[in-house]
């Protein structure tokens, strides 16, 4: 299996090609076409110990709802987007058609305590759209772009789930 892994870390973005080949119970690894001495052990369901040419890394993984992976390696953190040419082909470029039209989704479960805009309003980038409360903290959700509020799908006092569509700015 061949994967394109796009990593975003403290030092910016980089892309790695990882080839994994199963050989019975065992994997072989090529990194950007070069075989690497990687000794991998599973420590816990989401934690791997990797010895890479002797250097010891402990990687903990948390999958995100958007399909990306958060990875932590000691003091460093990465976000990984994995493009599996076999299973995921085309996925990466599928988002282009939505350009310009932004769907605002709830980042976590909570309650809408204030709706600051209504359909048709002109908004600036970073202008507050609504306020969601969770765990006693109120957080203003801001517009990612200047534009017109197309729809508002929630009301004040309404409970929302993570990923739920709150409003659309076009």
């Amino acid at each position: 299996m061949k994967f394109e892994v796009e990593l975003t870390g403290q030092c910016g973005k980089k892309t790695r090609i990882v080839e994994l080949e199963r050989d019975g119970a065992i994997w072989r690894v090529l990194l950007d076409g070069r075989p690497v001495a990687a000794d991998v052990a599973e420590i816990a369901p989401h934690t791997l110990s990797i010895l890479l040419d002797g250097q010891s890394f402990e990687i903990s993984l948390t999958p995100c709802p958007d399909g990306k992976l958060k990875l932590q390696a000691g003091l460093q953190e990465f976000t990984a987007e994995i493009i599996d040419p076999r299973a995921w082909s085309g996925r990466r470029h599928g988002g282009v058609e939505a350009e310009g039209r932004q769907q605002i989704i709830a980042p976590m479960p909570g309650k809408v305590v204030r709706v600051l805009v209504k359909a048709g309003d002109q908004v600036e980038a970073a202008q507050g759209l609504l306020v969601v409360e969770a765990m006693k903290m109120q957080n203003e959700i801001r517009s990612p772009k200047s534009g017109i509020v197309e729809r508002v799908l929630v009301k004040e006092g309404q409970a929302v789930n993570a990923g739920e569509l709150l409003c659309v700015v076009a």
Binding site: W27, V40, E42, I59, G74, Q76, M135
Partner: protein, 508 residues
């Protein structure tokens, strides 16, 4: 001494208090809402009783339910922790009525010192410096402008009824004063139905330094030194340390004396904290009093060796502060970070969920005040504080090195945490030099991340390892999807790599 104490709280502070009880041989009674049955404080308490649904106003804020549990379980005292009812004078009053000892200040002292305006008035009387400004609401804007002129700009106009930045204006010159006054006043009217404003000198980049005080019921009040809490994100403390890197012995004595004077003036008893702002010239100004145990009390414990919760209990039981305290000499340096279930990529929004796995650091100089455990689901309903990680060292440098080491070992999967924020702060040169102020972190978060802090080679290898881990995760996921049978049960070979073990025997 008490026989049984009701802990009117949850999470790490409930755990902290019940541990002190256990060490003193006092029974502890926990309470829990419907979502907290499996919380750590319930697991570790001697007794635990349900007090209703998840929303705190139906459970942890219900004095009637709390005192009902206290009465029925035979408690003789109540510890409020911090947050929830800890600074609500109704609780000590209800305790007195129910014949229970409240482990904290009397209701009157709480009211005299706890509210911002009452505290400010008392401070003025006790000769404790406050931020210069008008003592009363402004009646004549021109007089206020003259005062602003004489204090020096910038100044802040603030709504008397205010909060949350509404009705507040920062004024830089005489020319701006009049229009700023009219705008703020009308905004205050709209927001609070009260147009009154007052004037305060604006402190640029102040530091937050607070004094831990203790007072017994026999008239003795002592200062246990300062904590510096200047690293704040949107007015919330995120890192605290003791001693402050810039407080001198002389300043410590002055601030301690001022805090003790204020506590005396308010008839204070038990643990309290007097918060000050410190300007660039080391002038200090009274901010407010927290009439309770603070989240950050462990840093004082680590440098003094005292157990503040046990002291609170002893004082509430009528014990005297032992004489020896005034001669306590702090040792070394302590620093605390507050680990929250927060999403750093989403403006530190709370990020509850199930903790799938975690690694917690231990070893020399590391203390963890933990409120959670692996397998537990952080509920949606409360402050998402997971744990407090506290390091101690002989110097500020050693303490920071230990904290960094501990944060390198710390990991949690399943939830997002703010641990990465601390990893970043602890490598910032300004932080390492102690050049911090209350706006410092907010400013830092608007700056791009400096690349210099991590050596390139190690970073490269770490990203290689991360890329391999990510690909393996995807590969095993694809495998288990195409072959559901293999997904059940942990096949031990699932992650195994050939890894050229032979090669390992040849290299390094």
């Amino acid at each position: 001494m008490f026989k049984k104490i009701l802990i009117a709280n949850r999470g790490e502070i409930a755990v902290r208090i019940l541990r002190a009880c256990r060490e003193l041989g006092i029974q502890s009674v926990a309470v829990f809402s419907e979502v907290d049955r499996k919380s750590l404080h319930v697991r570790l308490a001697d007794e635990a009783y349900p007090i209703g649904p998840a929303p705190s106003r139906e459970s942890y804020l219900r004095i009637d339910k709390l005192l009902d549990v206290a009465r029925r379980s035979g408690c003789d005292a109540v510890h409020p922790g911090y947050g929830f009812l800890a600074e609500n004078a109704a609780l000590p009053r209800a305790c007195v009525d129910a014949g229970l000892t409240f482990i904290g200040p009397p209701a009157e002292a709480m009211e005299a010192l706890g509210s911002k305006t009452a505290g400010r008035q008392l401070a003025r009387r006790a000769d404790v410096p406050i931020v210069p400004g008008t003592n009363d609401p402004i009646e004549k804007p021109l007089e206020a402008q003259a005062l602003a002129h004489s204090m020096g700009y910038p100044v802040l106009l603030k709504a008397v009824a205010g909060g949350g930045g509404k009705g507040m204006r920062l004024v830089y010159s005489d020319a701006e004063f009049d229009s700023a006054f009219r705008e703020a006043s009308s905004e205050a009217m709209n927001a609070f139905g009260d147009a009154r404003l007052y004037l305060e000198k604006y402190l640029e980049r102040p530091r937050h330094v607070e004094i831990q005080i203790f007072a017994d019921a026999h008239g003795r009040v002592v200062s246990l030194g300062e904590r510096e809490c200047s690293v704040q994100r949107r007015h919330q403390k995120v890192i605290e340390e003791a001693p402050s890197p810039i407080v001198t012995p002389d300043l410590r004595k002055k601030m301690g004396d001022a805090a003790v004077r204020l506590a005396r003036a308010g008839g204070y008893v038990n643990a309290g904290t007097v918060e000050f702002l410190l300007d660039a010239h080391l002038n200090f100004y009274f901010l407010e009093v927290n009439t309770r145990l603070q989240v950050e009390h462990p840093v004082t414990e680590q440098v003094t060796g005292l157990d503040l919760v046990k002291l609170q209990i002893a004082i509430a039981a009528g014990h005297r502060l032992p004489f020896a305290w005034e001669t306590i000499t702090p040792r070394g340096h302590a620093m605390e970070v507050r680990l929250y279930a927060e999403d750093p990529d989403n403006n530190f929004f709370p990020s509850p969920g199930k903790i799938l796995s975690r690694n917690v650091p231990s070893g020399p100089g590391i203390r963890l005040d933990d409120g959670v455990y692996e397998g537990w689901t952080v509920p949606n309903d409360y402050d998402p504080l997971l744990s407090k990680l506290i390091a101690w060292g002989n110097s500020r440098e050693e303490t920071i090195a230990r904290l960094r080491r501990a944060l390198e070992e710390y990991s949690a999967t399943g939830i997002k945490t703010n641990a990465g924020l601390f990893r970043r702060i602890l490598s910032e040169p300004e932080f390492l030099r102690g050049e911090i102020h209350t706006k410092w972190l907010d400013e830092l978060l608007h700056r791009p991340i400096s690349v210099a802090s991590v050596p390139d080679e190690k970073e490269d290898a770490a990203s290689d390892a991360a890329a391999i881990a990510a690909a393996l995760w995807q590969a095993t996921r694809s495998e288990s999807q195409s072959n559901p049978a293999s997904a059940t049960g942990e096949t031990p070979s699932r992650w195994k790599l050939e890894g050229r073990r032979q090669q390992l025997d040849r290299t390094p």
